[in-house]
């Protein structure tokens, strides 16, 4: 074992494709609302934003009202949600961009839809807007994350469970943008590398995984499904071991493809484990619901965990859990 380092000897910066991130941690889409934090924060939250990049809640071509309540509840070592991609639609979303243009971190826009056309329409609308927007009126939109893996929307099986359908969405969006293009994979498959490979072959620059596991919770009095949507997506520490296995499988199958690993990251050690399984960046989801200070705490813990093991950077630890 390498001797430990001082905290300040650890350089946390990573490169996620063309994105230069100050550290590996990003928020998982839908778990961290920038404007809500800014409203409650005493200082300048746009300057002090704790994540290295901001992934907002998924936006779709048309406005969506989402699922009926209840939408969330705790489960053993985790939680389940069935929000249903509630969002104002891309036009209204673009209309609100100037409100958070002061954010200094790169933004990865999470895009949802039911067909390749719907995904491409969102990407096209944003590219059209950015092509003629004054710089001071837009945040640094540097990438897209195609959410083909939300388990809570109607319309048959998830696109991400079908490699060909995933490739069609990626291809349609690749034609609309040259920005960094991530695809967020579903864990609700027997072999996650199939959709991963299809996405990369269709033009994705990187992959994020995993989204939530389709799951069900019953009301303990009535024994009927608790969530208004009957089923929801399971996340939190309960899913971390499965997520780690899937990240490792994709890293092994597609070496060199930038990965954003996520699933139950609550601590800096959790984040380091995803890095050890091959992730370049790490998403934090449910932990955001446990306390306002969670992101900065996890960043600080990651630094300490790297230092304690003598890793001078996340890159030095990346992939060490993989087969040689």
């Amino acid at each position: 074992m390498t001797p430990p380092l001082e905290l300040e000897q650890v350089m946390l910066a990573v490169e996620l494709g063309p994105l230069r991130l100050e550290h590996p941690l990003v928020d998982a889409s839908g778990t961290f609302d920038l404007l809500e934090y800014a409203r409650r924060y005493r200082g300048d939250f746009f300057a002090d934003f704790p994540y290295a990049a901001y992934v907002p809640k998924t936006v779709t071509a048309d406005a969506r009202t989402g699922n009926p309540p209840p939408r969330v509840t705790e489960t053993p070592s985790g939680m389940i949600n069935g929000i249903g991609l509630e969002n104002p639609g891309i036009d209204a979303w673009i209309g609100g961009l100037s409100e958070w243009a002061a954010l200094r971190r790169p933004v990865i826009v999470s895009v949802g839809g039911n067909s390749p056309d719907q995904y491409a329409a969102v990407v096209r609308a944003l590219e059209t807007h950015l092509a003629s927007a004054f710089a001071a009126t837009v945040p640094r939109l540097e990438g897209f994350e195609l959410n083909v893996s939300c388990p809570n929307v109607a319309g048959g099986p998830q696109i991400g469970a079908d490699p060909a359908a995933t490739a069609a969405v990626v291809g349609a969006c690749r034609a609309e943008t040259t920005r960094f293009l991530l695809v967020k994979l579903t864990p609700n498959v027997s072999d996650v590398t199939l959709a991963a490979r299809a996405a990369v072959e269709a033009g994705a620059d990187g992959l994020s995984l995993v989204n939530t596991f389709k799951a069900m919770v019953l009301d303990r009095e009535t024994l009927r499904p608790f969530l208004g949507n009957r089923t929801g997506g399971l996340c939190g520490p309960a899913i971390k071991p499965i997520a780690l296995r899937m990240v490792a499988e994709v890293a092994q199958a597609l070496p060199g493809v930038p990965l954003v690993g996520m699933g139950g990251v609550i601590s800096g050690l959790d984040a380091l484990e995803f890095i050890a399984c091959g992730a370049t960046a790490v998403g934090v989801g449910a932990a955001n619901f446990t306390g306002f200070e969670a992101p900065s705490r996890i960043v600080a813990e990651l630094r300490a965990e790297l230092a304690a093991r003598g890793f001078a950077s996340p890159a030095a630890a990346r992939g060490i859990a993989l087969d040689a």
């Binding site: 100050e22 778990t31 934090y37 002090d48 309540p69 939408r71 705790e74 929000i83 200070e293 630094r303």
Partner: protein, 263 residues
Amino acid sequence: MTAKAVDDHAHSEQWAETSHCRVSAVRRFGAFTAFELVAPRIAGKAAPGQFVMVTVPGGGFLLRRPLSMFTVHGDRAGLLVEARGAGSERLAGLEVGETVDLAGPLGSAFPTKGVTNALLVGGGIGCAPLQYLADELVTAGANVTAAFGFRDFRAARAAGAFAVERLWVASEDGAVGRRGTVMDVLAELDAPPNTVVYACGPAAMIGAVQRWTLEQGLRGYASLEAHMACGSGSCRGCVVDTTRGKLRVCSEGPVFALDEVRP
């Protein structure tokens, strides 16, 4: 983890509302537990209707639980919890000397300015924020009448947790107060025309109070309950239907104008 690491983005202190608080008093009332915490920063900023997110101690729980501010006295924040699930059962079992993390005060407050006659209508655990509201209104010189309804004898023991001078209690099994619901109490009340109605309770009660308030030509406010994950506007887990579309109970609420909610 060894030492407390140098924080790259040391802003956790700036969330001044997050506090590690000691339980200083506990009283149990059937299914309900009232407890007081030493929480000077939260007590100093709170207004009636606001809530706190409470970390369930002891490990094993991920999400915080939203609880309305029940009382505020000096540096003490009072909370009332009903044991409903594993998390609230743990909170209901808190003992003096234990500590819990609180984040708050969060959400919107009951408007109270210029109110001379107030009618507070509560159902079950929904009565909790109305005690704090009653205290503030009385201090401001308003006439306060309260009508609280409870399901059964076990729940109705919670009536003992409240101190409102003109309090009418109903219980569905007649164990405490009049037999029936809070609507039966309202039917017998004479509310002056400038009365402001404040309601908190289950959706069915809010709907009934909304209709009654409209019939009486009064105005009012409703504080709504919802299952929450973040409690601070991020997850959209707690939305409710309103005349302004789907709004978050944690962020735009929990207090809404009574005529805009669609229970």
